[in-house]
Point group: C2
Chain length 206, copies 2
DNA sequence: TTAGTATTCAAACAATCGTTTGAGTCGCAT
DNA sequence: ATGCGACTCAAACGATTGTTTGAATACTAA
């Protein structure tokens, strides 16, 4: 097990990510995936055991880093002088947006996330909850601190809307055409829009 | 072709709606659909021609009425004295929320809508655009009127976020548990939250 | 009643699905 | 060089997919 940059495993993960984003988890077949990855069909079951486990690993590959980045950004925001709601949202949004510009697969992955959001797949939700719920808890704590006028039910309501809105918006981010802007400028502009939008919605009087 | 309340055609549409919401368009098989509808397998191809056309008809059955209701609500809002942004949003949101409480299938359909949003299916988008784009145009015109400080690009940006957020939130509306509230009360509360949230996000200074 | 159309039905179609198999190949340590 | 584990490969597995067929049934109009 050497560490190769373009090993069979990584090629499969990359191709699966793109095709899951394009056709969905049920809609993308393993033959499409292995063909795009230029890999033998049996390689999926050899390296991942099953299609369902492949799906999980597609998430794990990105979410491990994404959640680490989000927690780091949150820690940095908390240390900031004059820490406000917008900073919390920034710590949540910016690492995900950075993903869309990092490499080719990142943009696809955000769309995969939006699909997982739309699906209410039992096992997938359990997998995500088991592995990454602690990150969400950290953010919820800070949101609750900045929005003391909202009771717990109301807060969850709004965070649910906000996370849904952000997920959808970021999924479309890669698709929307930008005119005369660098990728970096477009990303900054997007982040500001999303944060301002979300902050306004969260702060609205109950 | 008599008008029956529970004809084979309608039973198929109802079952398909529920199963598409639960398992997705690719994930729900025609055998699952026909079995749930208590109808012969061949009935789908006999009445609808193909699975893809069945999907279209699932949308048409609800969207025809939904868009009529939305345009009627918009007309009523425009005639109102002191017509404001919140009224436009109300005309957009309330008919969709009413759908979730009308009958059993309505709640499923809103989730189907959220799936269609997450998918970027070429043919489905064309079908929706061909049949219902005139409704969206009406709403966009009023949003543009109420938000003159936003240029066209910025407006589309925010509407994209808002429609995504609303679609997702309404899809979860049927899932979220309500404590001590009637369906009507819960729907009103939901509408108020969504409208206030969206209005705040749309009005935020650029 | 009868002719004709509309619908339902069981059965089968070819195609594709995820998965398994067993032989084959590769690289590396002994 | 030899042996061993890691990996790849073509081929096939049974199950399931959407769709089609032709006969049987239900319904409607004359």
């Amino acid at each position: 097990m050497t560490i190769e940059l373009f090993s069979t495993k990584q090629r499969i993960l990359g191709a699966a990510e793109v095709l899951f984003a394009k056709h969905g988890f049920a809609g993308a077949s393993l033959r499409q995936v292995t063909s795009a990855a230029q890999v033998n069909l049996a390689a999926v079951n050899y390296h991942f055991g099953s299609k369902e486990n492949l799906i999980n690993e597609v998430f794990r590959r990105r979410l491990d880093g994404l959640n680490t980045d989000r927690l780091a950004a949150l820690a940095q925001a908390r240390a900031k002088q004059g820490y406000v709601l917008e900073d919390t949202l920034d710590a949540f949004v910016r690492p995900a947006l950075a993903l869309t510009g990092s490499d080719h697969g990142g943009a696809s992955f955000v769309r995969v996330l939006a699909r997982a959001y739309a699906e209410h797949n039992e096992r997938l939700r359990k997998f995500l909850h088991d592995n990454y719920s602690h990150v969400l808890k950290e953010f919820v704590a800070d949101f609750a601190h900045f929005l003391p006028h909202l009771d717990k039910q109301e807060l969850y309501w709004r965070l649910d809307i906000v996370s849904g809105a952000l997920t959808y918006a970021m999924a479309d981010f890669g698709v929307i055409k930008r005119r005369g802007l660098t990728e970096q400028q477009h990303r900054d502009l997007t982040a500001r829009h999303l944060i301002r939008f979300a902050a306004a919605g969260l702060r609205a009087e109950g």
